[in-house]
């Protein structure tokens, strides 16, 4: 069980800010494949991975980062702070 968070337009496309996901995915990329298979709104959100950023346990990570031991995965567009 892993907490999955969505921010900005990723949140808007998927339609919720967070959910608990039951997964055995080995990497972030594997988790994305599982999510895309669920419904069109997920497929729409994850169409272009180059437009997305990911954090594993609140640290920026790559899509090939392993999920073993991770509790919280977040997907979001490139950040626009400041």
């Amino acid at each position: 069980m892993i907490e999955v968070l969505y921010f900005a337009w990723v949140r808007e496309r998927i339609g919720l800010p967070r959910e608990t996901v039951d997964t055995n995915a080995a990497t972030v990329a594997d988790l994305v494949i599982e999510l895309k298979a669920r419904e069109d709104r997920y497929a729409a959100a994850f169409t272009d991975l180059s437009a997305l950023r990911v954090a594993v346990d609140q640290k920026l990570a790559d899509f090939d980062a392993p999920l073993a031991g991770a509790r919280e995965i977040a997907f979001f567009p490139p950040m626009t702070g400041g």
Binding site: F7, A8, R11, Q58, F76, P77, P78, T80, G81, G82
Partner: protein
């Protein structure tokens, strides 16, 4: 060193003044303040900033710590708002205190460059004719590049 993330407006002048007063061994204070631009009646109604509670504070603490070490700062401050704000309101500020001006300027720019592209904030602009998420700029990523590979 201080990091604050808040929804409430802040008084840039009061914060800048309080920051500057604490540091008698620093000869140079630099501040940056970001303001929601008022593009006139046809423009922006408000801005909304979303953030990632928990990660935001961690990211800002990390950026501030890096700046303290890299530029041998006497002190630094990052203050960033989230939530809705109107044109003319302050979005965020940074302040740096160093012995000499070159370090204070460089550290403030370093903080801004990292904040822009590495802190989990997302800006949404709500105009009369619709809302849109602000896109990240290539030039912001380029600005970041000048700080890497030099350590």
């Amino acid at each position: 060193m201080q990091v604050r993330v808040q929804a409430a407006p802040f008084d840039f002048g009061a914060e800048a003044g309080a920051f500057a007063q604490g540091h008698t061994t620093a000869g140079a204070i630099v501040t940056f303040c970001g303001v929601v631009r008022d593009d006139g009646p046809a423009g922006l109604e408000r801005m909304e900033i979303e953030h990632y509670p928990g990660m935001t504070e961690r990211a800002l603490e990390q950026i501030a710590t890096q700046a303290m070490d890299r530029f041998a700062l006497d002190d630094c401050l990052i203050l960033h708002r989230h939530g809705p704000m109107r044109p003319g309101e302050t979005i965020m500020m940074v302040a740096t205190a160093a012995r000499h001006r070159a370090a204070a300027f460089a550290a403030a720019e370093f903080l801004m460059d990292y904040l822009k592209s590495r802190a989990p904030f997302w800006k949404k602009e709500i105009a009369r004719d619709g809302a849109s998420w602000v896109a990240a700029k290539d030039q912001d990523e380029a600005a970041l590049a000048r700080w890497t590979g030099e350590d």
